[in-house]
Amino acid sequence: MAAIEISDLSKQFGSVTALQNLDLTVEEGEVFGFLGPNGAGKSTTIDILLNHVRPTAGSARVFGMDVQDESIPVRERTGVLPEGYGPLGRMTGHKHVEFALQAKRADGDPQAILDRVGIAGAADRRVEDYSKGMKQRLMLGMALAGDPDLLVLDEPTTGLDPNGARRMRQIVQAEAERDTTVFFSSHILEQVEAVCDRVGILNQGHLVAVDTIDGLRETAGATGQIRVAMASIPDGLIETVQDRDGVTSVAVEGTTLVVGCENAAKGAVVSDCYGAGIVEDVETSEASLEDLFVSYTGGEN
């Protein structure tokens, strides 16, 4: 059974489309990275999984349970580190973890959990006095309470120093070894790269790519970009280039044609340009994983 099964999910906030026809399956035991720039719809997807937000169309299931009709059983098996969670209460860190354990109806030692996230020493301090990083660690502790089968981490490294980020990664890896499914959202590529089996890239509510890190690397290696500066862009050239096999994107910057394509298609693209007008300069480059992410997400990060 899939841990997360999202089918044809759409969400409209007034006139703003946050998600459009999202299809996504995350298998049990998988560490899935959910990438995308801010505002791409990552948090909306997570909010729908937790029933904070109701979809306009489509459905989502967690461990086969409908996220709307069976939200409580879903959340009993899910540990969540939400994004932008607002001020915490005035209780101590210890009491907060206890509260999470109680809600999950789980036995567990709050102290051991706090130790695991590295704030055991602050257990009896009120959380309103915690630093941002300590709060984030506490949130992770609350997410881990009750040994969830699914961990949902929304931008988990926000506010963490490098040590904290490293501890977060180690915990994600340890959880993955225990066959916990991890759904990890981030706008920072390298964090996802370090821990995830597979990543999905979301942009403006659309899922633009789903692949393993290696698969993405291959795609990145095989594709490149070619920039052809011309005196002017002749009519019909864009269409001609677009129709070429291996061309994935065509954009115009001033009078420069920017074409994303497989390396093998570069020659044909250049000859198309020579055939149609005056070429002033040609630049070609291979894409890195970073470029790939940028090209998928329109370069606005």
Partner: protein, 283 residues
């Protein structure tokens, strides 16, 4: 049953705030001040009436300012209970755990009612005790007084539940803190001017001789319904004649039961609308 956990957290968070201690102290001073003043200034008068009557006089002297104070305090403590946490994002945290939205609303009502009830009951016991002691030895031990005082404390708990439920309901209905403030203030203002409004309308419509059905609008606001019910209940417990609106009206509906139904509707309806809005809302 996870509303209990939500209520406990809400209560624990609240009693760790300075606001709570300020509330408890003001409550205590107010109650002791009013009760003490009554006992101190009317002890000679009280000596001339039966102890039970003097004690009941004390209860009614304390009732009016204390209930108004509770109404304001409930508004202050409850109007942001849902919408404020919604705006700040704290609700996402609460609802990421396996709590339902009804758990959250019920937990907030019970938690905040506790926050008000604990200092209220404590203060009233002190204030009524002091007042009764000052009135004279036999008042404090008069069975009638003790029964009325106990009945009054129960009534105060109902009153707290009433207003906490109303203001948490308003908080769940509205989609911004400022609207919640506006709604809460509007209700309080309407309470104060209700009898004036009724008088004006009666005048405008030229309703001579106060028709019987006027009992309904006169009793429809929460404070009016509460007072009507309190007076009727305490009258039934003692020989003390209490004026109730229903007193000299023959109509079937002019009874404390009507007031009880109105009170129940005030406890249930705003929060039911709030729950319905909140249940369907995107956080």
């Amino acid at each position: 049953m996870s509303w209990i956990a939500v209520a406990r957290k809400d209560f624990r968070d609240a009693i760790r705030s300075r606001m709570f201690w300020a509330l408890a102290i003001v409550f205590g001073l107010l109650s002791i001040g009013i009760g003490g003043a009554y006992g101190y200034f009317t002890d000679e008068l009280a000596a001339s009436v039966p102890a039970s009557e003097a004690g009941i006089g004390l209860v009614f002297f304390v009732q009016s300012p204390i209930t108004i104070f509770i109404m304001f305090i409930s508004a202050i403590i409850c109007h942001k209970s849902i919408v404020g946490e919604w705006e700040q994002g704290s609700l996402k945290l609460l609802l990421s755990l396996p709590h339902t939205r009804s758990d959250v609303i019920l937990g907030k009502i019970v938690g905040r009612a506790g926050v008000i009830a604990v200092p209220a009951i404590g203060s009233l016991v002190l204030g009524l005790g002091l007042g009764a002691a000052l009135l004279g030895g036999s008042v404090l031990t008069s069975v009638d007084f003790l029964a009325v005082a106990a009945g009054f404390l129960v009534a105060i708990l109902v009153y707290i539940a009433l207003y906490v439920s109303i203001f948490v309901g308003i908080s769940a209905i509205t989609r911004s803190s400022s609207l919640a403030v506006a709604g809460s203030v509007a209700l309080i203002v309407l309470q104060f001017f209700w009898s004036v409004i009724i008088a004006l309308v009666t005048l405008l419509l030229d309703l001579s001789g106060d028709p019987d059905w006027l009992y309904i609008p006169q009793t429809i606001m929460p404070n009016a319904a509460f007072n009507e019910l309190l007076n009727a209940s305490l009258s039934a417990m003692t020989e003390w004649p209490l004026s109730a609106n229903a007193g000299d009206i023959d109509a079937v509906y002019a009874s404390p039961w009507t007031a009880a139904v109105i009170l129940l509707l005030w406890i249930v309806v705003p929060v039911a609308i709030g729950y319905w809005r909140f249940k369907n809302a995107d956080l």
